[in-house]
Symmetry: C2
Subunit: 282 residues, 2 copies
């Protein structure tokens, strides 16, 4: 099975590791505009060969794991190049733009829009790890627009990688993911920014910050190259979540200013309910 | 060594475990208004005996680990009860109020104001764990107001528990900790609230939320009984941090609205610097 991974970083590299482990006959071809990443991916054994888009006609599977701005630009070109038996899927954190850009493409049925909810705050080929996808949810959008045989091929891969499948339309995906992922990243980045701005003496932060701060600010280590286009493509939903988040913070601040501490207690008590929701998330 | 722990939960219970392990002669007396917690603490072996404040005159060490509103009320009474060789220290997340309330107390020199930066999002005796304090920072305020011999006694305990010591005045402590701890808790609680409000269908949250969300929202599991009085006692600093945090979020939102994505990239890139700062925090 000839698998082309376009964009060899944390996401594509981790997928390459697991596919190689799960399919004896898999040969992984890496495509990346960053020569250093290709070099690293070869040295780390993530890919068997470096390749170019020109070779895509040989591909049986193409996995598009670039930042989403590049994915939107590349996907139509990739569909132009591939043979008609080839499965193409992506792993981007936004789905609506990608689905729209190929809606009328003659090879639309070769493409499956997917979003495996998996990752770490690190990036690049060196961040790739085995079993990143095991037990994780993979959200598939507009499944009915993909050829049935290629759906099956994709499911075989996702099953062997240990993913649970959920189906959703692209607009709902983008709306929900804004709350449970995109907003988390912004809240974390802005928390990091606020603290860095205030505490110019880093030694003080380091000494006083505990595991709680480290956990809350962890996502502020994430790659700006990956996240900027996500916020751009999901602009309307992200703005909506930010407005609600800011309104909640304003209300909390007002309650403190007005000494409404029983109200603050009540809000936190209700939000403790997140315990139940989080059970089972790795 | 007769050690009285007033408030047997995560913080006091974990300290009891480690002190018992580090001092052969330690006998731990537990004082708590919550009878169920006393019962659990006895069953878990966190304490050797239940006790009352009346017995405090026998104490060699008193550790005050109640929520900070109760600590402020109890500390003067505790100082009234103890013998003159007794060391009293607390572990609260605010220091200014506690220091003020006993500033003129005749037994002020028996008290050491401390804040071990350690904890988890859980609470109660069942949350107590061994080695919670190992490698963690303990911030000591107004050390010069504590009798030298009792400082030594405290250091012997903190050393055996594996804590690093930092000295700070109470006002600076409260200001800095607002940024690296109190604000993290509010950002996390409000993130949880925003998502819960929006996503009434919890199954959807569960399916789409990944480890990033779980990490960012972890502190929203924390105890409201512990955190409400912290926000109350540190009101001015918390309001200041919230204003700066909200202003940063507003600016981020405005940049998205005005399609200033290069600016957003730049902000995130700069905030990535948190990586360096966080190195070494457990």
């Amino acid at each position: 099975m000839k698998v082309f991974v376009i964009g060899i970083g944390l996401i594509g590299g981790s997928m390459a590791i697991d596919i190689k482990a799960a399919f004896n006959d898999a040969i992984i071809y890496g495509v990346d505009s960053n020569k250093e990443h290709i070099e690293q991916a070869l040295n780390l054994g993530l890919i068997d060969q470096a390749a170019t888009n020109v070779q895509l006609k040989e591909a049986e599977v193409v996995i598009l794991t670039t930042p989403v701005d590049i994915a939107v630009r590349l996907l139509p070109d990739v569909l132009d190049e591939i043979n008609e038996e080839c499965l193409v899927f992506d792993a981007g954190s936004t789905k609506k733009n990608l689905c729209e850009v190929v809606a009328e493409h003659p090879r639309r049925r070769n493409y499956l829009a997917t979003h495996p909810i998996a990752g770490t705050e690190f990036s690049g080929p060196k961040a790739a790890i085995a079993n990143l996808y095991r037990g994780k949810t993979n959200i598939i959008c507009e499944v009915e627009k993909t050829a049935f045989k290629l759906q099956e091929k994709a499911m075989e891969i996702f099953n062997r990688l240990g993913m649970r499948i959920r189906y959703m339309d692209a607009a709902s995906h983008d709306k929900h993911i804004a709350y449970v992922s995109h907003l988390s990243h912004i809240s974390s980045f802005m928390l990091g920014k606020t603290v860095i701005e205030k505490e110019k003496n880093e030694r003080d932060i380091f000494d006083m910050a505990g595991s709680g701060f480290a956990s809350t600010v962890r996502l502020a280590k994430s790659s700006p190259a990956m996240w900027t286009p996500i916020f751009e493509q999901n602009k309307d939903n992200v703005i909506e979540t930010l407005e609600e988040y800011i309104a909640n913070l304003e209300k909390f601040k007002k309650n403190i200013e007005e000494d409404k501490f029983p109200e603050i207690y009540k809000e936190m008590k209700e939000t403790n309910h997140i315990k139940t929701i989080l059970k089972g998330i790795n």
